[in-house]
């Protein structure tokens, strides 16, 4: 696998609401197999940038290129099926369904999700589903939720929901996984564990783009950081470079 290749490229993307530029001429690259961090104070445009990448909002200008394809105009579900998934900061769970159901629904290329096939090709999807359940169990084990597979999602604690949100993303076997604050709202030990897991997954070729306010964790695991402030990338580099970069502190602690 070519690690140097950029899986996601953003070229001069802008997004404004009224006169306010939430994302202003941002260009960045995420390389395959990398954990890439995106940091910045509140209101710096991180979430808007994420939404733009995911197709939830259309950029006003610029290009978003995923795996060599321009995805500016793709719908969120199309982008998902191309292999880019995300985990929300506040877990988007399906409370009336079991944990396993929550994960299974995230699988891509699943034949049973077509009305005709789910009715008339039952054997086909049931076989596939058995395999998917096994995979889902693996993933649950990976995030330590394997004992809760049949619990109702509404009964999970906040931290467990967070893990479930990540597990859902993994079920889709993504090539690029966008995470919005994976460690927020979970205890520090678990937060660290999550990042360790993510690092394990990079060994399998998965790529992560992560927004995280727990800078200690992010800087420990990420290999590249972009610092966003007021819609503009003000600094980038490896964590140790960022730590020494005055622009980074200016973004976070205010103008001098």
């Amino acid at each position: 696998m070519k690690k140097e290749e950029a899986i996601l490229q953003i070229k001069r993307a802008s997004k404004h609401f009224g006169g306010f530029y939430a994302v202003n001429d941002v260009s960045l690259e995420v390389k395959r197999g990398q954990i890439c961090g995106l940091v910045g104070p509140n209101g710096s445009g991180k979430s808007t940038l994420f939404n733009t990448i995911l197709g939830l909002q259309k950029p006003d200008s610029g290009d978003i290129i995923f795996n060599g394809t321009r995805i500016n105009d793709a719908a969120p579900h199309q982008i998902y099926n191309m292999g880019m998934v995300n985990a929300f900061q506040i877990p988007h769970i399906f409370p009336s369904m079991s944990v396993l159901d929550n994960i299974l629904i995230a699988a891509r290329d699943y034949p049973g999700e077509n009305m005709i096939e789910s009715l008339f090709l039952r054997r086909k999807w049931q076989e596939k589903e058995q395999k998917l359940i096994e995979e889902a169990m693996e993933i649950l084990k990976f995030v330590n939720l394997d004992m809760l597979g049949f619990a109702l999602t509404s009964e999970l604690s906040g931290g467990q929901r967070k893990l479930l949100e990540i597990a859902k993303g993994l079920m889709a076997k993504p090539t690029l996984f966008l995470l919005d604050e994976p460690a927020a709202g979970v205890n520090p030990v678990l937060g660290k564990k999550i990042f360790q897991k993510l690092q394990e997954l990079t060994q399998e070729g998965m790529t992560f783009l992560i927004i995280e306010h727990r800078l200690d964790l992010l800087f420990e695991f990420a290999s590249w950081i972009y610092v966003l402030n007021k819609g503009i990338i003000v600094a980038m580099g490896q964590p140790h470079e960022i730590v020494d970069n005055p622009d980074f502190y200016q973004a976070y602690l205010g103008e001098k």
Binding site: H77, H92, P95, D101, E113, R122
Partner: protein, 322 residues
């Protein structure tokens, strides 16, 4: 005096309204689409059946066409309406139902307007002379029960299979959290429109069955109260459970007919019709307060493989213990 015959009539009504109620359960209970215009699709099915059967089309084609046209109607309404907030969707569908009724009422060229339209029974049997009226009625009712419950069983099985499949999982997911479902790569517009079409088609078929059983339809039969009645059935029985729809339809029918019969034997201080509706209102509010999920809950398992895994796991743990 033939109470048995009357019971058969009740059973047939239960059958027809169960079909409408399960279509509402499909839309509302499983997918979260609050369709308050159920009667519109019921009406489309009934009028399609009536008009086609007058033209001599065989009954099964009439039913299928009724379903298809209702599905098309559902698609036309769903395209713009399904992205609406749930209360807007409710108001829009309720209003569309009334517009449709107004049209068939005013345009007498469509289905006789206010004069209504006579409908032939789907299956009419020519009895040899000397058959008693009772026997004829019973046999006719028997044929109707076979027809209606056949279709009910078919719808029930199809929907049961559908909701216990990955497709059903997506439906439930849409109900729980639309945005999350979309972000998991499922086009919510597509799935919602499909479900709405399927639900409308089923309601349309029920409308056809209703028309051929009543043998006469006119616009006064398709008031919003029909939609509300179906909602009562669904909410009482359990919106996310098809057996619940059957239970709800049965309870409402028995309540309706039972109180109507009881009034002949009990002297009430108030008019029985008024009392009936007051009790309906109280019943719904009580259900919403104390049993918002209905009498029957949603099934825990979305698919059969999941259930098998669950059972296997349970037996494994119990084996370990022993």
């Amino acid at each position: 005096m033939n109470i048995a015959v009357y019971i058969l009539d009740i059973i047939i009504y239960i059958g027809i309204f169960s079909i409408v109620a399960i279509s509402l359960n499909l839309e509302y209970g499983f997918t979260g689409l609050g369709n308050f215009g159920k009667v519109a699709f019921f009406l489309i099915g009934a009028y399609t059946y009536a008009i086609l059967s007058q033209a001599g089309v065989p009954f099964y084609l009439c039913l299928i066409c009724g379903g298809i046209i209702a599905a098309i109607g559902g698609l036309i309404i769903s395209l713009p309406a399904l992205r609406l907030r749930e209360d807007y969707l409710a108001i829009v569908t309720l209003t569309v139902g009334e517009i449709l009724r107004l049209i068939v009422k005013t345009e007498s060229s469509i289905g006789g307007g206010v004069w209504g339209i006579s409908v032939k029974r789907a299956i009419s049997i020519s009895f040899p002379a000397g058959f008693s009226a009772i026997n004829k009625t019973v046999i006719n009712a028997g044929v109707q029960i076979v027809l209606i419950f056949g279709i009910l069983a078919l719808c029930f099985i199809v929907l049961q299979l559908l909701t216990r499949s990955p497709y059903g999982r997506i439906m439930r997911a849409l109900r729980d959290n639309e945005l999350a479902t979309e972000s998991l790569g499922k086009s919510r517009a597509k799935y919602k429109a499909q479900v709405f079409m399927l639900g409308s088609a089923i309601a349309g078929i029920a409308g056809g069955l209703f028309a051929q059983y009543i043998r006469f339809i006119d616009p006064y039969m398709f008031m919003p109260i029909v939609t509300f009645t179906v909602w009562i059935m669904s909410l009482v029985g359990g919106p996310a459970n098809f057996t619940g729809a059957l239970l709800g339809a049965t309870l409402v029918q028995i309540f309706d007919r039972g109180t109507n019969i009881l009034k002949d034997y009990i002297t009430l201080p108030i008019d029985p019709v008024n009392l009936q509706y007051i009790l309906f209102g109280v019943l719904i509010i009580l259900v919403l307060f104390f049993r918002p999920q209905g009498l029957l809950r949603e099934s825990k398992f979305t698919t059969r493989p999941l259930k098998l895994v669950y059972e296997k796991r349970r037996s494994d743990t119990s084996n370990k213990k022993s």
